[in-house]
């Protein structure tokens, strides 16, 4: 029983990272109807920025904040320069562009930082707590992710820009008629998604160790989480990510070799697509004609 609970809690820690990345995917999907395959590699690149800053002697949290700001700006630039030109192109063209971004980020990171696996410092001490059910590190990861999620939801719910972003995603033509600059909202959305990804990357790097391929698996789990939650639902993405994290951990511990854990994510993706394409929280917009 004790081991079972332990696995659930460490699953939640991993799941909160998947949840963040899944949320980033959902944000982009809602705003541009586009699955950003480069989301993971963008997060990896952000993590390298944090790593460089920490190695240059900056305190961890300062490096983290600078990384968030840099990722936000970087995400906005990517939207402006790479995504906007294919905004009205067929979906496949846009998908190819994000896959291209994935490869570019991966190669550039390898070129600058080499493919050598690097140690990444954790800001949290690694001590068991709650009768060894969790570690302080897991607790820290969950705490940071939760804080970020709460801030994000508050931003979208209570600020004029957050409301304008939701409006622009839902009905761009009407948003323009309200005087909302839709292009700018999309850019901000990409910036925020990059920032969320950066948080996920920095939180996961101490566990996975940093190399240019670090986020590959995480992105697959995040996809599974986003799909499970119904790809259009932010809350669904968070819940889905957490479920994926816990499931993956339990299955890896009790059912199959942990090297095969990624299979769980794929199986989940296929099961969701076959049996419940709208996911757990698929959008139910009430509409009367």
């Amino acid at each position: 029983m004790h081991q079972f609970l332990q696995q659930i809690f460490s699953g939640l820690a991993a799941g909160s990272i998947y949840a963040s990345l899944a949320l980033a995917l959902v944000m982009i999907y809602r705003a541009t109807d586009l699955v950003n395959f480069a989301q993971g590699e963008m997060a990896m690149f952000s993590t390298y920025i944090a790593w460089t800053l920490v190695n240059a002697g900056l305190p961890f949290w300062l490096a983290f904040l600078i990384t968030l700001a840099a990722s936000f700006v970087g995400g906005m630039i990517i939207e402006r320069v790479v995504i906007r030109p294919v905004e009205n192109a067929p979906v496949l063209a846009a998908v190819v562009v994000t896959i291209g971004l994935l490869l570019i980020f991966n190669s550039v990171a390898g070129w600058i930082y080499s493919y050598t696996v690097q140690d990444f410092p954790s800001p949290f001490p690694d001590r068991p707590v709650f009768g060894a059910l969790m570690t302080t590190r897991d607790l820290g990861v969950i705490g940071v992710t939760l804080l970020m999620l709460v801030l994000l939801f508050a931003f979208f719910r209570y600020t004029p820009i957050g409301l304008a972003m939701r409006a622009a995603a839902q009905n761009p033509a009407s948003a323009r008629l309200c005087g909302i600059r839709v292009g700018r909202m999309l850019a901000i959305g990409w910036g925020l998604a990059a920032m969320i990804g950066a948080t996920a990357g920095v939180m996961v790097a101490p566990v996975l160790f940093l190399d240019p391929n670090m986020m590959g698996g995480v992105l697959i789990y995040a996809f599974a989480g986003a799909l499970l939650g119904g790809i259009t639902s932010p809350i669904g993405a968070v819940v889905g990510g957490l479920i994926v994290g816990v499931t993956e951990n339990l299955v890896g511990t009790y059912l199959i070799a942990s090297q095969l854990k990624l299979t769980v994510a794929f199986a989940l993706i296929i099961l969701v697509l076959v049996f419940r394409p709208n996911g757990l929280f698929g959008t139910a917009i009430v509409r009367r004609v």
Partner: protein, 235 residues
């Protein structure tokens, strides 16, 4: 009175094809002008061209400013409140969120403006926390008009506000529009299929056929024109 809006030799396009072929339309300050015509005549396209939602050519003068090179969002913030065809409400957001979005460019007056709209449309106050998509057709049209008024526009552009609504609902909506026009000093440019109702309310009218203005004048004179009566009023 001086016109608040003038369209001069306005042409509008869908892709490569020209749909509106150089029309001249004026809306007087504080007045209500209606564009009449059959389906596909180019009325909605004219309104879209005015707000930069389709490619256009020609001159658009609004309150001393040229609009023909400006983007939709700029035109909105200059004071053109456009209620598009199909209402354009944000169906997944609440009534109150829709109103707040309407006042996006006027954040400071937001709370008062919301309350003023609830004054004009009490039903919206009752529904303020509901998703806009759950409202009835008439309520959605009221919400769409209120949303456009939130930005305190000088010109209200209404694209077939009667579409799909019961006659009694249409009447009550137009009664409120009339009241708002007087109290808010806003001019109105209206596109309407219901010609007899529109000619009763408007002071100027233009008849548009296949992208050209074929008749124009005071609403009264058009209402008495025998040919227009036969083709559009049915008596």
């Amino acid at each position: 009175m001086a016109p608040i809006l003038e369209l001069r030799a306005l042409r509008a396009f869908y892709g490569q094809s020209e749909v509106v072929h150089g029309i001249d339309v004026a809306v007087e300050e504080g007045g209500m002008t209606v564009l009449l015509g059959a389906n596909g005549a180019g009325k909605t396209t004219t309104l879209r061209a005015l707000c930069g939602m389709v490619r256009r050519d020609g001159q658009i003068l609004f309150a001393g400013k040229e609009l023909h090179r400006r983007s939709t969002e700029e035109i909105a913030s200059l004071g053109v409140g456009h209620v598009p065809e199909g209402r354009g409400t944000f169906v997944g957001l609440t009534v109150e969120e829709n109103l707040r979005l309407g006042g996006y460019t006027k954040q400071r007056q937001l709370p008062e403006s919301v309350e003023r709209m609830y004054g004009y449309f009490p039903i919206l106050a009752q529904r303020r926390r509901q998703q806009a998509g759950a409202l009835s057709g008439g309520e959605q049209q009221m919400l769409a008009i209120a949303r456009a008024l939130m930005m305190a526009p000088r010109l209200l552009v209404l694209d077939e506000p009667s579409f799909g609504l019961a006659p009694r609902v249409v009447e009550s909506i137009f009664a409120i529009v009339e009241r708002i026009r007087r109290e808010e000093h806003v001019s109105v440019l209206l596109v309407e299929q219901n010609a007899s109702l529109a000619l009763e309310l408007a002071d100027h009218a233009y008849l548009i056929e296949t992208g050209y203005v074929v008749a124009s004048g005071s609403a009264k004179s058009l209402a008495n024109d025998p040919q227009i009566r036969r083709s559009y009023l049915g008596y």
